[in-house]
Symmetry: C2
Subunit: 373 residues, 2 copies
């Protein structure tokens, strides 16, 4: 198997795990946050920036890349690593989530999902086999099973049908998978219904795969609902495989899910918020567009060691945002990604010394301080 | 005097000069191209990028900075160098050119220029004294006299009135100037009329100042007209002071003006073109939006040593532009600035070995190759 998951230590007081993912493109220390590089680039920063930040794995989106520039072109140019000049690890999602969140006039059948591109209305068919084929052509180190993420307001009958179909699709993904350098992860759905989650988890984990993910969270439910569900479900995932909570979330969400035994995360929150001027700091959140920062010479986060905080003042960042300058987007993104990666570095250290519960509680308290700043 | 201009060598076959500008914020090797940082940032790149590119001096715009964030705020935070975290040299223009090119409902009187902000329509008055005061508050190493850049279609009567007023304004600037760390440069106007240019040059250079500039070029005339005029006028500027050709131009424009004895240049061309996908290369120009690049694995300029060309393919850049990704803007800007700075490095070396005419001719020929690529 091309992917090897090494378990280093289990925290004494929680389910948190300190691990290491050995991939064909280097080692990934877990728990890990994966910056999202939807179209073969993490918005507003360069591969030089990501390397300097210490990012060990990035995420790419199959839906976007299949539409533009197309996986055939990427494969012809040597695969996604070479295309984007990133020699560390990559993970691609299956395209399933974007078919539901971005594509037009989608239709789900047993065969797969028919949809129209959000770019030009062109018609596409994504099946479990096609999704695996595209992801293997892109050549990511971790690829994801093609699933349906049913709308949260679906009735139970539809949910059960959807889960059964996602399980059948998983078997088709596993059959289509070449077992080459790209390691296939299964995805557990089931919304907030614990009975359905558990049933689907059993079905998914019955397929022997290099890793497993939890999907269908952070789609509108309250954070407490998600935290409670993940705390129930994550510990039931196989101990010896990496566990990936997809599309989550805030710093508080991450440290809480790590306590439930989750190893991998991705989310657009730090990068998207950065472009809107919202910075995550060790003292809560700062909106850099706010006039209160106009004459503030302090670093955005005086406790932060990122390039932005070492170099620039709140006043300068506020000016850049007020003047709609491109540099604002890069500086804010650098900071937020550093904050998320540092959060995971702290988690890894806390687990190693069996003090994870206190670490997670400290992060949650700092986060809730945001209402006061 | 805070600014010292050291003349190192004069090319044997042209008026080209190899020099060194000693400023309170480091040494600037001339001939030099100054990247334009209008609002306290060079669009799409960071100060770390500019430092890595080897930029020794940047330009800031008085008009933009006085409106936002305001020179009082910048001064209160320690000046423009500290505000933008740039410890190398800075030059600010006087605001005169932007009053004519950007401001609304401007009115020129003997007192100065009344105008409305292009941002919010607020009413402002810029006088020679105010311009010098603002620029000294910003704290640039080189500051420019407040002048009028008359429309190129002005009749001769208006031109003569305007030049006489600009001369009177220059005397007011010189009187207002503190002779502190910011060195004041005078500006010679006169359009393409050589008689008016010469007369104004005599008036401007009669005021003893640390440097002199040529303004009012690259405002719509044909390149040959500008080249011919600069070739006539520049050699008459004082030999022992730096000579600055404002707002010019293409690589061919720069190397041609260097042959006439110009030492300093600024232009938005490399940065603005970059954001539109146009790259200047040693083999002519490339439009990175063009589909011809979609599968091209070559560096944008295989002969270039910039980060972009060392790291990424034309195919990747073309994808980033097609997908409207922010990284495209930074990578293209890095390349174009590197190209311009390298062009000046080459010019300096060529002057040192008395081969400048051949160097300039080679650059012009490569530039004209653009029609073929």
């Amino acid at each position: 198997m091309s992917l090897r998951f090494e378990r280093l230590h289990r925290d004494a007081g929680t389910h948190a795990r300190r691990g290491r993912l050995h991939t064909p493109h280097g080692t990934v220390e877990t728990p890990v946050f994966m910056p999202v590089g939807t179209q073969g680039t993490v918005k507003a920063v360069g591969q030089d920036d990501l390397r300097a930040l210490g990012a060990e794995i990035l995420l790419g989106n199959t839906y976007h890349l299949m539409l533009r520039p197309g996986e055939e072109l990427v494969a012809a140019l040597g695969g996604l690593h070479r295309f984007m000049a990133w020699d560390r690890a990559l993970l691609t999602d299956s395209g399933g989530f974007q078919v539901y969140s971005l594509a037009q006039s989608r239709k789900i059948t047993e065969e797969g999902a028919r949809f129209q591109s959000h770019l030009d209305g062109s018609r596409w068919l994504l099946t479990p086999e096609r999704s695996v084929q595209i992801q293997e052509a892109l050549g990511a180190d971790v690829i994801m099973a093609f699933d349906e993420c049913p709308p949260s307001k679906s009735d139970r009958t539809y949910l059960e049908e959807s889960l059964a179909r996602t399980t059948r699709w998983l078997h088709r993904c596993a059959a289509a998978w070449s077992r080459g350098p790209s390691a296939l992860f299964g995805i557990v759905q089931g919304g907030l219904d614990l009975e359905l989650r558990r049933r689907h988890l059993d079905e998914v984990c019955a397929v022997d795969l290099p890793g497993y993910a939890l999907g269908g969270y952070s789609v509108g439910e309250r954070p407490e609902e998600m935290h409670a569900s993940v705390a129930e479900v994550a510990p039931s995932l196989p101990e010896d495989r990496p566990r990936y909570l997809m599309g989550v979330g805030t710093p508080a969400d991450l440290v809480t899910a790590v306590a439930a035994g989750v190893d991998m995360f991705d989310c657009v929150l730090p990068t998207r918020c950065a472009r809107n001027g919202l910075l995550f700091t060790t003292q809560g959140r700062l909106n850099m567009r706010n006039a209160v920062h106009a004459r503030d010479e302090r670093a955005p986060d005086p406790a932060c060691s990122c390039y932005t905080c070492r170099t620039h003042s709140r006043a300068y960042l506020r000016h850049l945002f007020a003047a709609d300058e491109l540099l604002a987007l890069r500086l804010a993104t650098l900071h937020n990604l550093h904050h998320y990666l540092e959060l995971m570095r702290g988690a890894r250290t806390a687990i190693e010394v069996d003090r994870y519960a206190a670490y997670a509680e400290d992060v949650r308290q700092r986060e809730s301080a945001r209402a006061r700043t």
